[in-house]
C-alpha cells in the first residue's frame, strides 16, 4: 500500500448539508475526525474510535467506523453508528451521451466495516421507482460505489485508470426485484400474452417457459446473452449488487467471483441502498481496503425515469477520501 499518508482534516471543512428526505442531520460536527499521528515515514494508522457518530465525519471524505458486524440491511440499527457524509453530485460530461443536469444535488453516504467486510449505505431522492428492464423502454434505477487506490485521487474518479484499476459495486433495482419476485420477464409485464411455441422447447404451456427451461433443455442458443454467459442474462439472480473492475471509461468488466451483498429499499422520498463487499480483493484488478488507511471512493446514481444507463448518470462531483477506522 502506498496510499497511506493521512493528515488530520479536523476542522478544515464546513459542515455538510443533508438533502431532503435522507434523514441525515444538518451541521454534522467535523471535530476530532481522526485521532492518531504520523507513524513512521509517511504512514498513518487511523485510530479514531468514537461512540458518537457526530464525532466522526471527515472533511472531503467518508469515515468508515469499525463495528462488530457490517450491516447488509438498510434498516439495520448499526447504521446509527455511521455519520452521513453529504456528497455533492454532478453530471458526467466526459463521455456522450450525458444528462443535462444531475438527478439530485446531493446524496447521503454512510459506511461501516467490521475488519472483514465494508458496507456502504447510499440514500437519495428519486420520486419514481424503476425496477424493471423488461419492456424495451424500461430503464432501471441504480447506484454504484467506486473504490480505488490513492487518497481521494481525482484521476481515478472516472472508472479508475489504465494503471490503477477501480473496483465497482453496482446495485441494480431490477436485480433487486428479480431477487424478491423471481427473474422478471414478459410474463410479469404482459400476463395475458399468447405464445404458440418457443422452439425447440416442447411444452403445453409455452407462455410459462423461463430461461431456466432453456438451460434444462440444453437450448440456450435461443437466448444468446444467456448462452455466452452475460451476467445480465442470467436465468437466476443471486445478488442485487454486481462487483466489477474497470481501467477507465467503457471498460467495466464483471468480476469472476461475486462475493458481494446488499439490499435496496424504498423510502418515502427515494431509495436507501446497502452495498457490501469483503475488504480483501480476490480478483487480479480488485482493490483491497485496509483498516487504518485512506483510499479513494466515488459514487454514482442512475434514474430509470430519465433512461439513464452507462455514462448517462449522476456521479459524485469529486472523488473522496475513504478512511477506514483501524
Amino acid at each position: 500500500m502506498s496510499d497511506t499518508t493521512v493528515t488530520s482534516p479536523a476542522g478544515t471543512a464546513p459542515a455538510g448539508t443533508a438533502p431532503a428526505g435522507t434523514g441525515a442531520a444538518n451541521g454534522v460536527s467535523r471535530r476530532g475526525l481522526l485521532a492518531g499521528g504520523l507513524a513512521g515515514a509517511g504512514a498513518l494508522a487511523i485510530t479514531a474510535c468514537a461512540a458518537d457518530p457526530s464525532d466522526v465525519s471527515v472533511s472531503g471524505g467518508v469515515w468508515v467506523a469499525r463495528v462488530g458486524r457490517a450491516p447488509i440491511e438498510p434498516a439495520d440499527a448499526a447504521w446509527d453508528r455511521a455519520a452521513p457524509t453529504i456528497v455533492d453530485m454532478d453530471v458526467q460530461v466526459m463521455v456522450l451521451p450525458h444528462r443535462p443536469a444531475p438527478l439530485v444535488a446531493q446524496i447521503a453516504v454512510r459506511a461501516l466495516h467490521d475488519g472483514e467486510t465494508i458496507s456502504f449505505r447510499l440514500d437519495w431522492d428519486d420520486p419514481d421507482t424503476h425496477d424493471l428492464t423488461v419492456r424495451v423502454d424500461d430503464f432501471r434505477d441504480a447506484c454504484a460505489v467506486l473504490l480505488a487506490g490513492g487518497e481521494g485521487d481525482q484521476g481515478l474518479r472516472t472508472m479508475g485508470s489504465v494503471d490503477q484499476p477501480a473496483t465497482l459495486l453496482h446495485w441494480k433495482a431490477d436485480w433487486q426485484r428479480d431477487m424478491d419476485l423471481g427473474v422478471q420477464g414478459a410474463a410479469d409485464v404482459y400476463p395475458n400474452r399468447s405464445i404458440d411455441v418457443y422452439p425447440p422447447l416442447i411444452s403445453d404451456a409455452p407462455r410459462d417457459l423461463t430461461p431456466a427451461d432453456y438451460e434444462a433443455a440444453d437450448a440456450t442458443e435461443w437466448l444468446p446473452g444467456l448462452h455466452v454467459g452475460n451476467p445480465l442474462s442470467a436465468s437466476t439472480r443471486t445478488a442485487c449488487v454486481e462487483k466489477l473492475t474497470a481501467r477507465g471509461f467503457g471498460t467495466a468488466t464483471t468480476a469472476t467471483k461475486q462475493n458481494v451483498a446488499g439490499r435496496g429499499e424504498r423510502t418515502s422520498s427515494g431509495w436507501r441502498v446497502v452495498l457490501a463487499k469483503p475488504l480483501r480483493g480476490i480478483e487480479a484488478d480488485e482493490f483491497t481496503l485496509t483498516p487504518g488507511h485512506a483510499h479513494t471512493c466515488a459514487f454514482a446514481l442512475w434514474s430509470g425515469a430519465d433512461q439513464d444507463a452507462g455514462g448517462r448518470k449522476t456521479p459524485s462531483k469529486a472523488a473522496l477520501r475513504l478512511l477506514l477506522e483501524f
Partner: protein, 379 residues
C-alpha cells in the same frame, strides 16, 4: 469527431471515428418494383434468428407499405422531424446528418421506441398515398395514387450510428466483410444504440436484457452463401454481394454495376449520414419526386428512368445484373452478359448461375395425355 467521406452525400461529414472501410463491404439491393409483401423474407429471418423468448416482437427483416407503413411506429417520420429540413444541391446533400444535428450532450439525434411502437408491423398496409375520391380512376405511369412495399433489414452501415453510440464498444464492424455485430458478452443493455439507430434496426431482448440485431447471416456469408432473407425471396427482388466505393467500382460486379455504373440502386434515407449498404431500386409508379428524394436521395428519378429503359430491352447489361437476383444461393462476385445469357461467378471463379435474359415461352396443349389431366395454366 473525425471528418469522413460519405460518397452518398457527395461530401465529407462528421463522425466519431475516422474513416475505416472494411476490406470488403457486403451489400444488398432490393427492387421495390418487384416486392409483393409476401413476408417470406420476414419469416425466413424470424424462424432462423428470432424465435426465442425475449425476441417475440423483433423483426430484423420487416416489409412495410409506404407511404403510411412503419415498423416501429413512425420510425422514419419521427427521425425526419428531429432532423429538420434536408436540402440537396444537385448530388450534394447540404442539410445536416443525424450526427451533425446532435444536440448538446449527445452524439446524434435519436429517440427511444416503446413496446407499443412495435405492435403494428402491418400498419398502413396497402394504403395509397391519398384518399380515393374520384369515381373512375385511370391508371397511368407514374400513378397519382400509389403505394409500394419497402423491405427493410439492418443496413450494416459504413458509419453506423449504433456503433458510434455504444460507450462500451460492444458493437463492431467486421473488417473482413463490413457486417455490424453486437457482442453479446460485452453488451450491457444500455440501449444508446437503440436510441441512435435512425432505421431502428437494433433491438432489445427483453429476456436476456441486451441488444441484438441482424447479423446478415454471417455463418452463411462466410461460406459464400447469401443470407436467408435474400435466398428465400419469392419476388426475386433481392441482390446480394459486395459494394465498392465509387472510385473502386468494378463493372463486372453486379452490385457495383447497379449502384455505381447505372446508378439505379439508391440508399434509403442517405441524408441520415450513415452510408447504408442496403440499396433500393425506387418504385417507378410513384408520382411524387419530393417523396422519392426524401427516401432515396438525389437521383431517384434518374434511377427510375434508367431502370425503365432496361425493362424495355435497351440495356442488356443492366437487365442481366437485375436478373441475377435470387437466381442462386451463392454470392456472385462477378458477372457477364454474353448474347442472350447472363452468367454469374462465385469468388473462387466457379460458375454458379447461367440464365437467359428472356425466359423462353413454351406453349403447352390444354390436355396432358401422360397424366390424363387438363392444365389450368397453359403458358
Amino acid at each position: 469527431m473525425a471528418r469522413v467521406k460519405n460518397w452518398q452525400l457527395g461530401r465529407e461529414m462528421s463522425y466519431w471515428y475516422p474513416e475505416a472501410r472494411p476490406k470488403k463491404q457486403f451489400a444488398a439491393i432490393f427492387d421495390t418494383n418487384k416486392c409483393i409483401a409476401c413476408q417470406t423474407c420476414t419469416l425466413a429471418c424470424k424462424t432462423t434468428w428470432t424465435s426465442g423468448r425475449g425476441q417475440e416482437y423483433m423483426l430484423w427483416n420487416n416489409v412495410e407499405t409506404k407511404p403510411w407503413g412503419s415498423y416501429p411506429l413512425a420510425w422514419d417520420v419521427r427521425e425526419l422531424d428531429l432532423l429538420g429540413p434536408q436540402h440537396w444541391t444537385g448530388d450534394t446533400y447540404t442539410g445536416k446528418t443525424i450526427f451533425e444535428a446532435a444536440p448538446e450532450g449527445k452524439k446524434n439525434i435519436g429517440w427511444t421506441p416503446n413496446d407499443m411502437d412495435y405492435a403494428y408491423p402491418n400498419r398502413g398496409e396497402d394504403e395509397v398515398n391519398v384518399t380515393i375520391n374520384v369515381k373512375r380512376y385511370h391508371l397511368k405511369l407514374p400513378h397519382d395514387m400509389w403505394f409500394f412495399y419497402l423491405p427493410r433489414v439492418c443496413n450494416h452501415c459504413t458509419y453506423p450510428a449504433c456503433l458510434q453510440a455504444c460507450t462500451r464498444q460492444s458493437i463492431y464492424k467486421r473488417p473482413e466483410d463490413g457486417i455490424v455485430l453486437v457482442d453479446q458478452e460485452r453488451c450491457r443493455g444500455y440501449r444508446i444504440c437503440f436510441e441512435a439507430c435512425p432505421y431502428k434496426k437494433i433491438f432489445y431482448n427483453h429476456t436476456t436484457r441486451v441488444s441484438e440485431k441482424c447479423v446478415f447471416c454471417f455463418p452463411a456469408v462466410e461460406q459464400g452463401y447469401q443470407p436467408r432473407c435474400m435466398r428465400n425471396c419469392i419476388g426475386k427482388i433481392r441482390s446480394f454481394g459486395f459494394v465498392s466505393t465509387p472510385a473502386n467500382a468494378r463493372e463486372d460486379n453486379p452490385i457495383d454495376f447497379l449502384v455505381h455504373v447505372r446508378k439505379v440502386a439508391k440508399p434509403l434515407y442517405p441524408q441520415f449520414g450513415l452510408e447504408p449498404n442496403v440499396y433500393y431500386i425506387p418504385p417507378i409508379h410513384v408520382s411524387s419526386n419530393d417523396f422519392l428524394t426524401m427516401l432515396f436521395g438525389a437521383g431517384a428519378r434518374h434511377a427510375i428512368d434508367t431502370y425503365r429503359a432496361a425493362m424495355e430491352g435497351d440495356d442488356p447489361e443492366l437487365l442481366g445484373a437485375l436478373l441475377l437476383a435470387v437466381s442462386t444461393d451463392r454470392i456472385i462476385h462477378r458477372y457477364q452478359v454474353t448474347g442472350d445469357t447472363v452468367i454469374g461467378w462465385a469468388e473462387d471463379g466457379e460458375e454458379v448461375v447461367r440464365i437467359p435474359l428472356k425466359v423462353p415461352t413454351i406453349e403447352r396443349a390444354p390436355f396432358d395425355p401422360d397424366l390424363n389431366v387438363y392444365r389450368h395454366n397453359i403458358t
